[in-house]
């Protein structure tokens, strides 16, 4: 196989789509072929540039779409007859299903009771805004011997919290949102806002946690943005070193090395030396070598 015909193989290698045997053969070839190594670097640079151009939908648009979908779902039919959400029962009584109609009526009364109670009891902390309607799920139903129905329900309530980052309850909720297990858009929004309070240790800890644990590389990049002003902070530096050594996303590692380069210190020498032995990306290797050079440190471990 000549080098020109290896372009597709190098491309597949960059995408992690070669078998382990094919990848090993290519690596062996790369060791002795400068032309193919150059092609590999070109492809990696191209890939990183393209991935950096990934569009991000504005959070307001995501929020608007969710609102519209919720409204449209209220008008839509369910995939099965059983409805779990009370609001849907109100909007979509199932024709010909008398028992469900009765249940809907019973639940409606329950909901009015709950909602009325909530509205009359008022907010339960000072930043709480206008409560939104309750959501009730029936967990199970009992038929009492007397004929009475006993509905065991679980209630959740959406609420609007108003305030600023200076308000501790708002900040606490944002720190929770930064760990949201489902929605990366919520985590991204929370971290973006929290950047304005990154002088607080708990906020910096949230950035470190996001950098080390978030499954989404875009969120980890956001966490790095948050840590940018704190490259002198020992905890932040340790987190940057760990990301440099263990993160599987090239952009995250590239940004971590940039931040460490901004303030080269002896405490990262070991991590950078270890990185030089294992990093596959030429740019990151080059930057690491330059930082070591700036500190008069050896590029190898002896």
């Amino acid at each position: 196989m000549n080098c020109a015909s290896r372009t597709e193989q190098i491309w597949l290698y960059c995408h992690g789509e070669l078998t382990p045997t094919e990848a090993e053969q290519l690596r062996q070839h790369l060791e002795s072929c400068a032309e193919c190594r150059a092609e590999l670097e070109r492809q990696r640079l191209f890939q990183r540039a393209v991935e950096a151009a990934r569009p991000e939908p504005p959070p307001e648009l995501v929020a608007a779409c969710r609102r519209e979908l919720a409204e449209a779902l209220g008008r839509s039919r369910a995939p099965v007859d059983r409805w779990n959400r009370l609001g849907a029962l109100f909007r979509l009584p199932q024709p010909g299903r008398l028992a469900w109609g009765k249940l809907a009526g019973a639940l409606a009364l329950l909901a009015v009771g709950f909602l009325g109670g909530r509205l009359s009891s008022g907010p339960d902390f000072s930043l709480l805004g206008r409560p939104e309607p309750s959501q009730v799920r029936v967990r199970y139903i009992e038929h009492a011997p007397s004929g009475e129905l006993r509905l065991h329900i679980e209630q959740s309530r959406k609420r609007l919290i108003r305030g600023s980052l200076a308000d501790e309850p708002v900040r606490s909720l944002l720190l929770e949102a930064a760990r949201d297990p489902i929605d990366p858009a919520v985590r991204a929004d929370a971290l973006e806002i929290l950047r304005q309070a990154s002088d607080l240790p708990e906020v910096r800890a949230a950035f470190v946690e996001a950098l080390e644990r978030d499954p989404n590389p875009a969120i980890r990049l956001k966490a790095l943005e948050g840590l940018k002003p704190y490259t002198d902070d020992p905890h932040s530096r340790q987190a940057l070193s760990r990301a440099l050594l263990s993160d599987d996303d090239t952009n995250v590692r590239a940004m971590a090395v940039e931040l460490l380069a901004a303030s080269p210190r002896p405490d990262v020498v070991e991590a950078l030396q270890a990185l030089l032995g294992r990093e596959s990306d030429a740019y990151i290797r080059q930057r690491s070598a330059r930082i070591l050079q700036a500190m008069n440190a050896s590029p190898g471990i002896f």
Binding site: E8, W11, L12, H15, G16, E17, R42, L45, F46, Q47, R48, A49, V50, E51, A52, A53, R54, P55, E56, P57, P58, L61, V62, A64, C65, R66, E68, L69, A70, A72, L73, S76, R77, A78, P79, V80, D81, R82, W83, N84, R85, A88, Q135, R137, P181, I182, D183, P184, A185, V186, R213, D214, P215, S246, D247, D248, A254, E258, Y283, R287
Partner: protein, 195 residues
């Protein structure tokens, strides 16, 4: 390196198949930013992307009971979104409206004549993330066919493997690979020595 979330998506799907709105909402929230990204990038206008978002998730809700876990939920969802995007582009073409994807269908230097030439800067990181490069990449994407663009974006913006791209397209992994390779070559040609 990491599992996407600690939540078992299959359990959410099964609950949603039983009519559980909360489970469905959690599924939507897990995927909707990606759906919107794909739609916006494809059809251009945020308003059209909103329509596609809504129609896609309504179709998912209506047809979820037929989902049999033969493919991943994400592949199934993306297939719906991709079909809606392609339908919208076809309708635009039929109505002879100006498409949001404004490419001339060809990759090459003429596509980029209006973009001022900016050579790579001395700091490659800075050059890589510069606005000029990113604009140029978006222009070059316009030069791909709809199918090539879809495949390219699924790989680079959504991190899909070739096998999963094949599932979205309803094609073989080999067909997905060939399409992606063609798209990559066109993109590299269009970007020239910019990178």
């Amino acid at each position: 390196m990491r599992a996407e979330t600690g939540v078992d998506e299959a359990s959410l799907i099964r609950a949603a198949q039983q009519g559980d709105h909360e489970a469905f909402e959690r599924l939507v929230r897990a995927h909707d930013a990606d759906v919107l990204r794909l739609a916006m990038s494809f059809v251009g206008s945020p308003e059209d992307a909103r329509d596609i978002y809504q129609e896609a998730f309504l179709r998912v809700w209506r047809n979820l009971r037929h989902f049999r876990f033969d493919s991943s939920f994400q592949s199934w969802l993306y297939r719906i979104v991709a079909n809606l995007c392609l339908d919208m582009l076809r309708q635009r073409k039929t109505r002879r409206q100006a498409p949001a994807v404004t490419g001339n269908g060809q990759a090459g230097p003429e596509l980029l004549d209006t973009v001022p030439e900016v050579r790579a800067e001395t700091d490659p990181q800075r050059a890589l993330f510069s606005r000029e490069v990113q604009q140029r990449i978006r222009s070059a994407l316009d030069g791909l066919t709809s199918r090539e663009r879809l495949v390219f974006e699924l790989r680079h913006f959504h991190g899909m493997r070739l096998k999963q791209i094949g599932e979205v397209l309803g094609a073989s992994e080999e067909a997905a690979k060939n399409c992606l390779f063609r798209a990559t070559q066109k993109m590299r040609l269009a970007l020239g020595d910019f990178l």
